[in-house]
């Protein structure tokens, strides 16, 4: 591991100032991803600015949503009674990620910015455009079971590994950022870039920009949101595929729907095309099938992950059927 300086930040302004003064400074949350990458010499910051003690609260926003500090741990967020009642799909997504030990340390900001688990990215002997721009991508001709089928390029097939981010893009979370020019707020879907020819540029953040909070807008139908994760073992494994979903009916018609996918996209994948094919249509099997087919039309599967097209199709249809059954039950009850 390369030697570095360490500074415990006492406030966000001061953390940003430090980051601006020092080349190759990095913010540190729980360290569960960055420390590992530093040990593997994939990352080598000259200074760590520990921000894990800042922004530790979850508050109700004026609009009735939630305002989540960037330093809240994954464990605290998943256990929060308001999240469990209003956004249970988010709780489930977080609880499906990593282990209890890791969730106790991992922060909200660190989770959003965790880097891919692509084996070629981790292997410093392999070619990887994300690690070294222009170096090539060994995944293209390699083992791609864990790689993406959506949003890929000839430069990169790596998935974004976060479960939490998948649930959050479905909820239209907004990210509050602070940097040298003050604060800005962006949609979480806008935080991540597609790899294109520069897979090393993963987000739209500037070097010193700090994530200070994530805001969840109020969304009544999110009270019956869910998250389903498919993986190679029952627990403590990254997703082959995951699905965040929620649905609201108007009679037999789909009034509102949110759908996002993990394990198949180069970024947390909001299924905009599927949603458009569902909204305003009759809630039935034919609609569900047409919707997921619309989303997967752009899929570029490789030999080892071609199964993900069928898997995504089946799991999405099954999840939509379950949300439909729940929505009907809810409708009868009220």
């Amino acid at each position: 591991m390369r030697a570095f300086d360490y500074h415990q930040a006492v406030g966000s302004e001061q953390a940003i100032e430090r980051a601006m003064r020092r080349e190759q400074a990095r913010y540190l949350g729980g360290g569960t991803n960055l420390v590992d990458l530093m040990r593997e010499t994939i990352e080598g910051p000259a200074m760590l600015i520990d921000v894990s003690n800042l922004a530790r609260d979850i508050e109700e926003s004026e609009s009735g949503g939630l305002f989540i500090g960037a330093g809240v741990t994954n464990a605290e967020l998943a256990a929060d009674p308001r999240v469990r009642r209003q956004y249970p799909g988010l709780s489930r997504a977080i609880l499906c990620g990593a282990s209890a030990q890791i969730r106790n340390r991992a922060t909200v900001a660190g989770n959003l910015l965790q880097r891919t688990r692509c084996a070629y990215f981790y292997d410093i002997g392999a070619h990887c455009n994300k690690r070294e721009p222009g170096n090539g991508c060994d995944a293209q001709e390699g083992f791609h079971r864990y790689h993406a089928i959506l949003g890929t390029s000839s430069s990169c097939l790596a998935t974004h590994p976060s479960d939490m981010a998948v649930a959050m893009v479905a909820l239209e979370a907004r990210v509050h950022l602070r940097g040298r020019d003050g604060e800005r707020v962006i949609a979480l879907t806008e935080l991540y870039r597609e790899p294109g020819e520069r897979p090393d540029l993963e987000t739209v953040l500037t070097a010193e920009e700090l994530i200070v909070a994530v805001e969840l807008p109020p969304l009544p139908m999110a009270a019956s949101s869910e998250y389903r994760k498919v993986r190679d073992r029952a627990s403590y494994a990254f997703a082959l595929l995951s699905v965040a979903s929620m649905l609201e009916l108007d009679g037999a018609t789909i009034k509102q729907v949110r759908l996002a996918l993990g394990g198949v996209g180069t970024r947390p994948w909001r299924a905009w095309k599927a949603e458009a094919a569902l909204r305003g249509r009759p809630a039935n099997a034919a609609t569900f099938e047409a919707a997921i087919d619309a989303e997967l039309a752009a899929a570029r599967p490789q030999s080892d992950n071609a199964f993900k097209v069928q898997l995504a199709r089946r799991v999405v249809i099954s999840e939509l059927n379950q949300r439909l059954a729940q929505a009907r039950q809810g409708g009868e009850a009220s």
Binding site: G30, V35, D36, A75, R84, A98, A100, Q101, R105, Y236
Partner: protein
């Protein structure tokens, strides 16, 4: 730098690169905490930070300065074993024993999470205050600790017994 380790204030000057795991094992000779993967994937290095379970290998010692850390060496009171330790012996919760300190610290942390009403990925109704508690829940909650010997059935029995649960279903 200073930490409270197993109730005692301890000091050491270490490089910022030193993990909490290496601090415990190499500076303070607390070798009960094990190094398995050194990358967060096995749980052998599990210790309690202010009562919550964490992986000591993914934590830099400097990140947890001033805080309270409990290792396997700090669980017993004198000669009296911690109830989780006693349950592991009673229910054959180990074979070679390498994963055991991490398993036991993890189980102690798990008990605290249950007491706070924290749900898990397999909790059917996440909004419910009371969590129906069964073997599936325990297995999920212990999934951050691998056992190469595959002593899992004994481990789940031991943890269930220490929580006062029947290890049925």
């Amino acid at each position: 730098m200073q930490w409270t380790i197993n109730g005692q204030i301890r000091q050491a000057e270490v490089d910022f690169r030193t993990s909490l795991l290496d601090l415990l094992r190499e500076q303070f000779q607390l070798s009960g905490t094990k190094k398995g993967c050194n990358q967060g994937a096995c749980g052998a290095c599990t210790v309690l930070l202010d009562g919550q379970r964490i992986n000591a290998c993914l934590t830099l010692a400097v990140q947890v300065q001033g805080r309270s850390i409990t290792t396997i060496e700090g669980l017993a009171s004198g000669e009296a074993l911690h109830p989780v330790q006693a349950a592991f012996i009673e229910h054959d919760g180990f074979q070679c024993g390498y994963c055991t300190p991490g398993q036991i610290c993890s189980a102690v942390g798990l008990a605290g999470e249950l007491a706070r009403g924290w749900p898990s990925a397999v909790t059917a109704d996440l909004a419910a205050d009371d969590i129906a508690f069964d073997r599936l829940e325990l297995r999920e909650r212990l999934s951050g600790n691998l056992c190469r010997c595959g002593a899992y059935n004994g481990i789940v029995d031991a943890v269930a017994a220490s929580l006062g649960q029947e290890a049925g279903a």
